[in-house]
């Protein structure tokens, strides 16, 4: 119950913050730019629109995580608003889960709005049938942002906003190349292979959430892929939040 209250409040904070509205506006502007640039795409206008539209969901969402998520807990500690919460019957892990759920919820809303706008543009271009790949892509992007938000909340609970931003960005970038790292590990000498495999397992496998190439040509992915991605995101978020909560539990608020 208390996790829901914290999540609702975090969601309300994110919605009232102008950053989210700014991101939605930026996403719509990018879609408009794609339409202006479409004649230059030599017949690949729809592909350009889908690619840019879906990329903007991930990139703008990442920007929200960097601007809001990485200071989500640190800001509460710095401003001492956390004193009024943790002095109530609110377990610290529940607080962290609430913060993560609230911001993730706000990001799902932004992703859905941008995804819907993208589908609207495609419908105007006569590609209304693209709704399925767009919906799947936006769903996967939402999962990806949920995973990155969990990392941001964990770092924010343990570090300063600047360091949290750097760590989160580092994990996001490294997570994009997780599959490449795993492939590289297979060819590496034994001693290095174990280390690389370990790093690949620790990093979030964010390429699992990327089906933009398929969506750009109007193709959908399998239900198995969507299920695996959902399960992986839940498991990864659970591990990250458990780790963050364990460290946060012993923290002093002076």
């Amino acid at each position: 119950m208390n996790a829901v209250l914290i999540a609702q409040n975090t969601f309300r904070e994110a919605i009232r913050d102008r950053v989210l509205a700014g991101m939605v506006v930026a996403g719509l502007v990018l879609l408009a730019i794609a339409q202006v640039a479409r004649p230059l795409a030599m017949g690949e206008g729809v592909r350009l629109t889908v690619d840019l539209g879906l990329s903007s969901v991930t990139m703008l969402g990442l920007l929200v995580v960097m601007l809001v998520g990485t200071s989500l807990v640190a800001k509460e500690i710095e401003r001492r608003t956390i004193f009024n919460l943790l002095s109530r019957p609110l377990p610290r892990p529940v607080y962290l889960i609430g913060k993560w759920a609230g911001l993730s919820g706000a990001l799902w809303v932004v992703s859905a709005v941008l995804g819907f706008a993208l589908w609207g543009v495609l419908a105007l271009l006569g590609r209304g049938a693209y709704w399925a790949p767009i919906a799947q892509s936006v769903y996967l992007a939402g999962l990806e942002l949920t995973v990155v938000t969990a990392l941001a909340v964990m770092f924010s609970a343990l570090s300063t906003p600047v360091l949290s931003s750097l760590y989160t960005l580092g994990f996001f970038l490294a997570g994009q190349w997780c599959d490449d790292l795993r492939t590289f590990a297979l060819r590496a000498p034994d001693s290095l292979r174990h280390l690389l495999e370990f790093v690949a397992n620790v990093l979030p496998n964010l390429s699992l959430f990327n089906m933009r190439t398929l969506a750009a040509v109007g193709e959908t992915t399998t239900a198995l892929h969507l299920s695996l991605a959902s399960g992986y995101a839940l498991l990864y978020c659970g591990c990250v939040l458990a780790l963050g909560a364990a460290a946060f539990e012993s923290r002093d608020f002076r």
Binding site: N2, N9, E13, R80, L86, S87, R88, P89, F253, R254
Partner: protein, 353 residues
């Protein structure tokens, strides 16, 4: 002109507040909380360690304390004495290095110890994107109040602290005094059985202070236990059943306000005429002082139990005694004297080390 300085008053007050470890420490020998204790602290110690220099600083040292249910308890000490550290440990914001504490019988390690607790931190900060009602609703629900009840309580308490006409005003537009009032409302909105307030009068004008005093008295009438720290000693003197004085992380004294101000340090003044060259008996030299004023002589007796003997002696010396006035020590005098005495003691300890 009264030539007796404040410094002369200090030894009397220091005697009244002489360190009596058993007063503060005996209560912590049993490890279990008793039913009539709202707060029980046993051997609580907190040391801070710098991450960079690894140097440790003592915040609190082996604190034992009990606050009874239904009493208003003042927690005094100069800046850095460990008051806020204690209150933050009790409310779960700091983890103790060692020792135990219970709130209303529940160990502070469990979150359920905070279900019936209301807490006002020092200089409270709030979510500035919420308005007063939204904020109070939110915190009331966090303390377990159901939704509709929380909304009603939020409106009622916002009105109770004088902010009822600003329900929709976002908190970023609140003044410092308004935020303090909101903080008090937040501490009380869920009708707790124990209220811990860290400097509740801080930042308030005289009207605000009066309102806070009224609120504390109202809570006492309802049977709520109130523990608060403050630097505004007249308020403490007016409100508290008992006070604890903390100096350098150590508990110096726990007593009722009456015991402190009327205790061993209570003085008696004799205003006399015709005694400018009277020689004081050597037996009383440490307790009886003389101050010569323009038209009279003032004798100050540091031990009220000798009042009758001194009066008889003055009369026998044919001194015209114009008035005999018992003097109460103010809490402020006692507090300052205790702080000075502790500083001297600490300095001696350092030198001998």
């Amino acid at each position: 002109m009264d030539t007796r300085s404040h410094m002369e008053a200090a030894p009397d007050a220091a005697n009244a507040l002489a360190v009596r470890p058993e007063a503060g420490r005996s209560s912590g020998r049993s490890a279990l909380p008793s039913a009539d204790c709202a707060v029980r602290i046993s051997g609580l110690t907190k040391t801070y360690r710098s991450n960079w220099t690894l140097k440790t600083t003592r915040g609190l040292e082996h604190l034992n304390l009990e606050v009874q249910r239904g009493e208003v308890f003042g927690y005094l000490g100069p800046n850095g004495a460990g008051k806020t550290t204690t209150l933050k440990i009790l409310t779960g914001l700091l983890k103790p290095t060692s020792g135990h504490a219970w709130l209303l019988g529940e160990p502070i390690e469990h979150v359920r110890s905070r279900v019936r607790l209301g807490f006002l931190p020092e200089q409270p900060y709030f979510y500035d994107y919420l308005n007063g009602v939204e904020y109070l609703e939110f915190v009331a629900q966090l303390s377990g109040m159901p939704g509709q009840e929380a909304t009603k309580a939020a409106r009622r308490w916002l009105g109770r602290v004088g902010l009822g006409d600003r329900e929709k005003l976002v908190l970023r537009k609140y003044s410092k005094g308004m935020l303090q009032r909101l903080g008090l409302a937040a501490a009380l909105v869920h009708e707790p059985e124990l209220v811990i307030l860290d400097e509740p009068m801080s930042g308030l004008d005289p009207f605000g202070r009066r309102d806070v005093r009224d609120l504390i008295l109202e809570q006492r009438e309802r049977g709520v236990t109130v523990m608060f720290s403050s630097h505004i000693l007249p308020d403490v003197e007016m409100l508290c059943d008992r006070v604890a004085i903390l100096l350098r992380g150590r508990l110096e004294r726990v007593a009722t306000v009456g015991e402190l101000v009327n205790g061993a340090g209570a003085r008696v003044e004799f205003r006399c005429a015709g005694a400018p060259i009277l020689e004081l008996p050597s037996a009383w030299s440490a307790r009886l002082t003389r101050t010569q004023r323009a038209e009279e002589t003032l004798f100050t007796l540091g031990d009220a139990s000798l009042q009758q003997e001194v009066l008889a002696w003055l009369v026998s010396q044919r001194v015209e005694v114009r008035a005999v006035t018992p003097q109460r020590n103010t809490l402020e005098e006692l507090f300052m004297a205790a702080a000075e005495s502790s500083a001297i003691h600490a300095s001696r300890e350092r030198r001998s080390a």
